[in-house]
Symmetry: C2
Subunit: 467 residues, 2 copies
């Protein structure tokens, strides 16, 4: 291998490390990261772009020995600053983006970590199968990122979170050891299920390089979607249990919008329009997928008719076309409308369904006691116990953000809830981890971190609070 | 606390440790284990019977400090000698057998580890819900044992293995640290998912004391069961994919009996009777659960009618009553008939479905080349890729067992299969772990074991091959 000229670096103290990596990986693999971040303060030392697992291993071994820090980068669509790479090497998986194989009979996909979720989803569909993971950020989120953060999304009620879709995994440890567990089998009880270590640990225990995903049979076009107006949260819960019973095994989404949110996404400048002729407290988006959509639609219609008669629901409409279905989802997904209120804060909490009403009332009251205009705007995957809580507007005064965090997380903690249902911890929620996890749990996390990454090379300072 | 008299022990060198434990735990908590094992050689030093998590912690802390070994005992229905406790303290969870709470709205059950599976299943049903785990050993297997071994069973195709049913867990580490993660939430991405460490690690990383299980809506009586005769394994696979499509989300079992097995369970002295008027190569038991059994039955009948016409299946019968349904399952479960052949060996392997035919042919041929009478008798959860292979009769000659293991596991390894689909590793399969897992995987297992149990106190010598 011929020696490459030293690359121009913004961080001269790391010049020797970058030179060594450039020489080992070839041109184009080590690039400047300054233009990839919003603020120059957040710039990584460099962005490393390995093209295979062996290069990932080489990078990690080299960095670990040199005492450098490494932050894995997928699509960087996370919401908790889990990919902040200031002072570290960013390890971008962008060149490892291939779908290596789809086994139609075995219903598996073997894919590299940098593959964009939407690309993987479309490839599964082209093979007559589905990859059930579906997120708003599907166009840029990567498979590796979804695995590292155990992403949730719109179909958890039926298919579970990303963890449930991973059959096999390849990960590289901080010292460069490649652990290849590309299992394709549904059942495999041969020793410890090592992949679990790397799913949801946000790149702090290893770098996910490849995965085997469990695909499912396609729905064959049988999708049924309804929007339902419901007077009370108790009735929403009753509706959920009825729908689960009637559509058993077919229910794929049960999303709820509180009226504040619904108003926002159905009035100008939002494009959505309410199908109701009056206002209602809760708006439920129900979706079922199966081989016989007509049957699901008929059952759902009967169920909703009965619920109307017993006044458990106030109104309902079943989508008659893909256009109507898309319109319902567009309302649900039109989160950016909350920006109308000015600065916002966004939370992602889990609660027992029985606690949701009390939680929302407490947060609303506590916010009102501090600031007359600031209120919670709520929607979420209620079928999974997961609410997204937008607080807006955030007052300009100092410490307002910390006070709002305290209000929301206190109300969560009192109810044995989770401060992060699907977004993870990253840097953003690290200070609050102990509000959802005990000292013994945090100590065990730290013990695992030390066992797998003794020099604290991988995504340092994320997830686990400082000792 | 008053001092107890020293208990009579078969192991005088451990008298002081047992005295200390007896004093701390009270009478009845430390008992002789000799009559609980088949062979006196396998007797534990004593059987410890804690009544709560604090006592489990005390036992482990005391044993760990004294250098004693501890083997957790559930229902001891395992098949890989994972609870062999020679020279160790057996930690029986039999007194921690309470169902602490069923949350009907939240669909969770909080249960102690020693609760028998069937007790938990019946309690869920009484609450109008189901605990989807179902095993042949349901009457004695415990929840803690099912979790520690990640038990599979009859409904994996729909609900996944035990791992998928555990929301929260409490476990005690070797040093007595209690890690309580009794999460009840479907979605909780707050840091590492620590419960995964204890699920399926066969008591080597911690002792499971309590768990929160995810219950599901009851089927409401809508169970559909069919027995189908199929000419080729290719047709079996086609049938599986068709049934998955047509019964999408409702299919709960797809069990296959090879004809050797079917003959055995449908001829005297077995009670089962074949519904067919001629013999067939494969016999498939299909079951669906939903709120509308009539609809499932109609769909399945249409599907089977079409498959008869296209000769993809040879014959079929749908159960018309619970008695017929039970009769089908009784055949499937009548494993003890294989004892007619004399000594047997039993394997539990996973394979890609596309590899099954080649696997069976290879095993059959290799056995026949060694012994004229010895053959494989096969049945299993084909929908999950899991076959149970009985080899019988096992010749009396020395090394016959080792040769049979080599034949079966070689055929598995060549096809990227698993040497243990659901039974685990224990002592029995430890020597073959490396046939399914790489050196890096085994090294990482060892690294975890050292991190969590540095003195090798918990279930020593199980799962991980000696270094």
């Amino acid at each position: 291998m011929s020696a490459s000229p030293p690359i121009e670096v913004a961080f001269p103290e790391h010049a020797r490390l970058l030179e060594a990596l450039t020489e080992a990986l070839g041109p184009g693999a080590v690039v400047d990261g300054r233009e990839r971040v919003n603020s120059p303060d957040d710039a990584p030392i460099a962005v490393l772009r390995p093209s295979d697992t062996a290069e990932v291993a080489l990078i990690l071994r080299t960095a670990d020995e040199a005492g450098a820090k490494v932050v894995p980068w997928g699509g960087r669509t996370g919401l908790v600053r889990g990919t902040m790479a200031r002072g570290a090497l960013a390890l971008s998986m962008e060149r490892m983006n291939r779908i290596e194989e789809i086994d139609v009979l075995g219903q598996t996909m073997t894919v590299q970590a940098g593959c964009v979720l939407e690309t993987a989803t479309e490839a599964a569909e082209a093979a007559g199968l589905i990859l059930p993971l579906d997120l708003g950020s599907r166009g840029s989120a990567t498979i590796g990122g979804a695995i590292s953060t155990n992403a949730g999304g719109n179909r958890v009620i039926r298919y579970g979170m990303t963890r449930n879709m991973v059959l096999g995994l390849e990960a590289v440890l901080a010292d460069g050891t490649v652990v290849t567990s590309l299992n394709r089998l549904i059942k495999n009880n041969t020793g410890y299920d090592l992949k679990q270590l790397f799913i949801g640990s946000e790149g702090t225990l290893g770098v996910v390089t490849r995965a085997v995903l469990h695909l499912r049979p396609g729905a064959g076009g049988g999708v049924t979607t309804a929007l339902v107006a419901v007077p009370t949260l108790m009735d929403v819960t009753t509706l959920l249990r009825r729908v689960e019973g009637t559509l058993s095994g077919h229910l794929s989404a049960f999303e709820v919008m509180w009226d504040d949110y619904f108003q926002l996404v159905t009035t100008e400048p939002a494009r959505g329009r309410s199908p109701w002729d009056q206002s209602h407290a809760y708006h439920v988006l129900i979706e079922a997928m199966s081989s016989d959509g007509a049957q699901d639609a008929e059952r759902l219609e009967n169920l909703l008719g009965d619920a109307m008669e017993s006044r458990e629901i106030a109104d309902a409409v079943i989508a008659k076309s893909q256009v109507e279905r898309d319109a319902f989802w567009a309302m649900r997904d039109d989160v950016r409308q909350v920006a109308r209120f000015g600065p916002i804060m966004s939370f992602d909490v889990s609660l027992p369904i029985s606690e949701m009403e009390g939680f929302v009332a407490e947060v609303r009251k506590a916010l009102a006691a501090c600031w007359s205009q600031t209120k919670p705007i709520i929607f979420g995957h209620l079928g999974d116990g997961n609410l997204h809580v937008i607080v807006a507007p955030v007052p300009a005064e100092p410490r307002a953000r910390a006070r709002i965090e305290d209000i929301v997380y206190s109300a969560v903690r009192e109810r044995d809830g989770s401060i992060s249902a699907e977004h993870g911890i990253g840097l953003e929620k690290k200070a609050y981890l102990s509000w959802s996890r005990s000292p013994e749990e945090v100590a065990l996390m730290r013990r695992l971190k030390v066992a797998l990454d003794p020099r604290n090379t991988l995504n340092p300072g994320k997830v686990i609070p400082d000792a």
